[in-house]
Symmetry: C2
Subunit: 489 residues, 2 copies
C-alpha cells in the first residue's frame, strides 16, 4: 500500500516540482488549495497536499516520475466538473491539474481528426472546426466547462450519444504518461490499429492507469438538417412506449430524452422556456438529423409514433433558435433541480430500454418509501437514467439517507440487467456498488490490469475499486485466488 | 518460456481431455490433424499435437486448466478462415477448436442483442434475426463460413463497417475463459458498463488473452431502403477524389469500395457479373441506406459527385437482386484473384483517406520494382487497402520475394500515418512489422497486459509480438526497462 505519511517532507518535493513547472506552477497555500477539495460531487471533500500545473507531456512525465520515485499518490484533475468524485483528492496527494494544457495541437479536416491537450474544454473542439462544417459529437451537459481529458477519464456521454456513441467511440489515439512517468502512444490517427486496444482500455479508466496528455479525436461532419420534437404525454409508460416504437421503426435519433413532471416544472420555474407543458406527466424530446429529406421524413414518423402512443401535442422545431429553446430546459435540468430544493443528488444508472416503465414505477415506490422527491431526467434512447434526489444537506444524516436511496436505485438497475453507471463514472462515489455488478473474479481481472500499469498504486488510488475501509459492502467480495504482490482491497 | 518438449507424454493428457469432452472430442491421428495445419494464410503450416473440441464454457475451462497445469501451449481456432495466421498452431500445441460450439443461446429483439457461442457462423446471426427485421452489421467477405469467435479474436471488419463500425463496436459483453482456466464475464448487456473496458481489450487480442465462450452482440434494425451505385472511372485518383467528396458532403455510405482494372477483369473472368466495365481503370461501389427518402436523396448526391469527378457512367441498383449483382464481383474478388495466377497474397493495411492517390501510385511503383502484378481492392471510405499480390508458389523463393513486397506496402502505410492491419489482424504473418508501428515502450505496455492474463505465455504464444527467432527486424526493438519475470521476446 502507499505510504501516506503525514510527516512527508514536502519542501524537497516542492523544489523538485518547481524545477519542472516553475514557482507559478505549484500551488501550496491552504487557502488556494480550498478550490481543489472536491469536483462536481461536492458531498466528498479532501484537500490535496499540493497542486501542480504542468503545460506539456514532458512536464507531466517529470512530475509523475517524482511521484513514482517517492511513492506519492497523485490524482489528475481536468475542469473538476465530474459527478462521481473521480477527481476527489486522496489524502496527502499531489493533484495534477491540466488547466494550463489547453492547446489545440493539430487539426486535420480532410481526415476528420483533431489533436488536443487534455485541458481543452469540450465545446472548444466543436468551435475549432465548426467554421468548416464539422463538430465533436460527445456533449455532456457540462460541455461549456468540462475538459476533454476529464471526458476521456470518465468516458463521458451526453444527449447526442444515442446515435453517435460516447467518448470512447470518438478517441482515435492517446499520448499517455504512465504511473512510472514513461510516455507511450496508444491507438493512432486511423480508426483501427493492431495489437491490444489500449486506447479503449484507457478511456474510462478514471485516472487510475495514467494521464492522457495528447488526445486525437474524431470529428464529424455537421448534419445538413436537424429537427427537434417535443411530445407531451399524460403518462410515462406511453412516453417509454413511443421511445421503443421509434427505435423499432429503424430511426436512430441524435438524442431522445424524457423528463418527468417534477423536472418540467423545475425548469419552467427557473429558465421559463414557455414551451414545456407544466401539466404533462412526461415530455419526450427527440432530435432527428441527416439530409434535409431524411430529417423531414424522420420527424414526420416520430410525430406519428408519438401521437399513436397518446401524445396530447407535438411541437416541432426546425430553425436553430427554436431548437435551442426546446433543448434549453433539458440542458438546465440539473441546475433547475438545485432551485427546487437546497440540495440534490444526481444518480446515473443504465437499464435495458424495455424495462423503463417498470423501473420508473419502482423508483416512485422507492421515493415514497425513503421520503424524498425524485425528479427523473433521462437519455431514454439508451436507457440511461438520471434520477435527481432532492434533499436538504443542512439536516444531519440527510445525505446518508439520500445515498441509501441512490444505492437502492442502482441495485434496481443491476437487477433488471443494467449498469451502475452510464456516463458519470464510478469515481469515489459508487465503488461500493461494484460488487453488485461484478463477481470477485471479474473485479480481480480489472485489478490485475491496474497492477500492471501502477504496481505502487499511486495513480488515483482510491477510485473505482471498493476497499473495506470505505465500503461495508466490500466484505461480500472475497478474493478467489492468491497471487503475490496484489492486495485486492 | 514455455516448455515445448517433444517428448511430452501425450497419453496422460489425452486421457484427461477425453474425460472432459469424450473420445469423440479429441483428434490425434496424424491424418486427421492435417486439416488443422493452417488457417486462411496457407503459406505457414504447423501440425498441432492434438485437437480438442469442447461444447460448453465449462469444457473449455477444464481443457485450459489441464493446459495451464502442464504448461502446454494452446491455440484457439474458429472456422480457420483468418488471413494472418492467427489460428496457426504453435509447435507441439493443443488446438482448441470451437466447431461444436454453435448454439445461439439467447435472442432479445426488444433490446437488440443476441448471445451466441463462438463457433456460430457470422451469417447465422443475421439469419437468426432477419425475420424480425434485424441484422448483424460486421460482414467479412468470408461471412458465410467464418465464426463469430474468430471475428472477435481478429476484430474483423467488412464492406459495411464504414458506417456501422467493426466487430468491437458490436460486442456488448463476453464470457471468457482466461489462460489459467478461470471464467470471467466482461461488459454486459447494455452498451456501457463501468470499470475498465476489458471487452474492448479482449476484442482483437487474437487469442492471446483467453477464449471467448459466450458473445453478446448488438443487432441493428434493417434499413428501410438500400441503394447500390457503381461508378466507372478512367483514373483511380478521380475515384479517390469522389470518395473524399462523398464523405465531405456529410453522407456516410454503408460501404464504399474501389476495385482497380486488374481486379475488375479478374472478377469478370470468373463470376461474369456483366456489369463491371472491363475498360474502367477503377470502379467505385457505393451503398447508401436509411429511410426511403434518405437513400434516394443520398444516391442522387453520390451520383452527382461521381459524375462531377469524371465518372463515365453510374449504374444504380435499387432492388435486392440488382444490388446483389453489383456486389457479387466485389465479394468474389479474392477468389477471382486465385484464378488470375496460381497463388495470391492478400495484404491488409490502412492509410488516411487523403493519401489514397499517392499510395496507389507508390504501390504501382513497388509492383514494377519487385516484378509482381498487384490487384487492388479496398474499403475506400476508411482507407483500408487490400492489395492482392499475384505469384506462383511453385517457383522456389517466390513466396519470400512476395512477402518482401507485401512488407514494403505495409511500411508505406505506416509512413503515411496509417496502420499495418485494418481487419485481418497481426497473427503470425505481420508481427515482424509491429516495431515499424510501435515504439519499444508501446509494445512493452501491450506485453505487460499480456503478462497479466497469461504469465506462463501458453495462450497463442507466437502471435502478435515479434520474436528474434522469427523476425530479423525485431533486433531493432530493444527493451527500455527491466522488470522481473517478463522476457519481452
Amino acid at each position: 500500500m502507499i505510504t501516506r505519511d503525514k510527516t512527508q517532507d514536502w519542501s524537497m518535493v516542492i523544489k523538485q516540482f518547481e524545477a519542472v513547472v516553475g514557482k507559478n506552477g505549484v500551488v501550496r497555500r491552504p487557502e488556494e488549495l480550498l478550490v481543489y477539495e472536491c469536483d462536481g460531487l461536492t458531498s466528498y471533500r479532501q484537500r490535496p497536499a499540493i497542486v501542480v500545473l504542468p503545460r506539456t507531456t514532458e512536464e507531466v512525465a517529470a512530475i509523475v516520475k517524482i511521484c513514482d520515485r517517492q511513492r506519492l499518490p497523485f490524482v489528475t484533475r481536468g475542469a473538476g466538473t465530474g459527478l462521481s468524485g473521480g477527481a476527489l483528492p486522496t489524502e496527502n496527494c499531489v493533484l495534477i491539474v491540466t488547466a494550463l494544457m489547453r492547446k489545440i495541437l493539430r487539426v486535420d479536416l480532410a481526415n476528420q481528426r483533431i489533436v488536443v491537450q487534455p485541458g481543452v474544454i469540450n465545446s472548444w473542439v466543436t468551435q475549432a472546426v465548426s467554421g468548416a462544417g464539422f463538430y465533436y459529437a460527445p456533449d455532456p451537459s457540462s460541455q461549456i466547462v468540462c475538459s476533454v481529458g476529464g471526458n476521456v477519464a470518465e468516458n463521458s456521454g451526453g444527449v447526442h450519444c444515442l446515435k453517435y456513441g460516447v467518448t470512447t467511440n470518438h478517441v482515435l489515439g492517446l499520448k499517455l504518461v504512465l504511473p512510472d512517468g514513461s510516455i507511450v502512444e496508444v491507438g493512432g490517427e486511423v480508426a483501427e490499429t493492431p495489437g491490444y486496444d489500449l486506447t479503449g482500455l484507457f478511456v474510462g479508466s478514471e485516472g487510475t492507469l495514467g494521464i492522457a496528455t495528447e488526445i486525437t479525436l474524431r470529428i464529424l461532419k455537421q448534419p445538413e438538417a436537424v429537427r427537434v420534437l417535443l411530445a407531451d404525454f399524460t403518462n410515462v409508460e406511453a412516453a417509454g412506449a413511443a421511445v421503443s416504437d421509434i427505435i423499432s421503426a429503424g430511426i436512430i435519433p441524435g438524442g431522445m430524452e424524457i423528463m418527468d413532471n417534477l423536472s418540467i416544472n423545475a425548469v419552467e420555474d427557473v429558465v421559463a422556456t414557455g414551451c414545456y407543458p407544466r401539466d404533462a406527466v412526461a415530455i419526450l424530446l427527440v432530435e432527428v438529423d441527416g439530409l434535409e429529406v431524411e430529417a423531414a421524413a424522420s420527424s414526420q414518423r416520430v410525430e406519428a409514433i408519438c401521437r399513436h402512443n397518446g401524445a396530447r401535442s407535438v411541437t416541432i422545431a426546425t430553425d436553430p433558435e427554436q431548437r435551442l429553446k426546446l433543448w434549453k430546459g433539458r440542458k438546465a435540468a440539473f441546475a433547475a433541480a438545485g432551485k427546487l430544493s437546497p440540495d440534490y443528488y444526481v444518480q446515473d444508472g443504465v437499464i435495458p430500454r424495455t424495462k423503463l416503465p417498470f423501473v420508473l414505477q419502482e423508483i416512485e415506490a422507492l421515493s415514497q418509501k425513503h421520503g424524498y422527491k425524485v425528479a427523473n431526467v433521462f437519455h431514454a434512447g439508451d436507457g440511461n437514467l438520471h434520477p435527481l434526489i432532492l434533499y436538504d444537506n443542512s439536516i444531519p444524516g440527510e445525505l446518508e439517507r439520500v445515498e441509501e436511496l441512490g444505492g437502492d436505485i442502482l441495485k434496481l438497475c443491476v437487477e433488471v440487467g443494467g449498469s451502475i453507471s452510464g456516463e458519470h463514472g464510478i469515481g469515489a462515489d459508487k465503488r461500493c456498488y461494484m460488487p453488485n455488478m461484478f463477481t470477485p473474479t471479474d473485479l480481480e481481472t480489472m485489478m490485475w490490469v491496474r497492477e500492471v500499469f501502477d504496481p505502487q498504486r499511486i495513480a488515483n488510488p482510491d477510485k473505482i475499486f471498493p476497499t473495506p475501509r470505505t465500503c461495508g459492502e466490500a466484505a461480500r467480495v472475497e478474493t478467489s485466488k492468491q497471487f503475490s504482490g496484489i492486495e485486492l482491497f
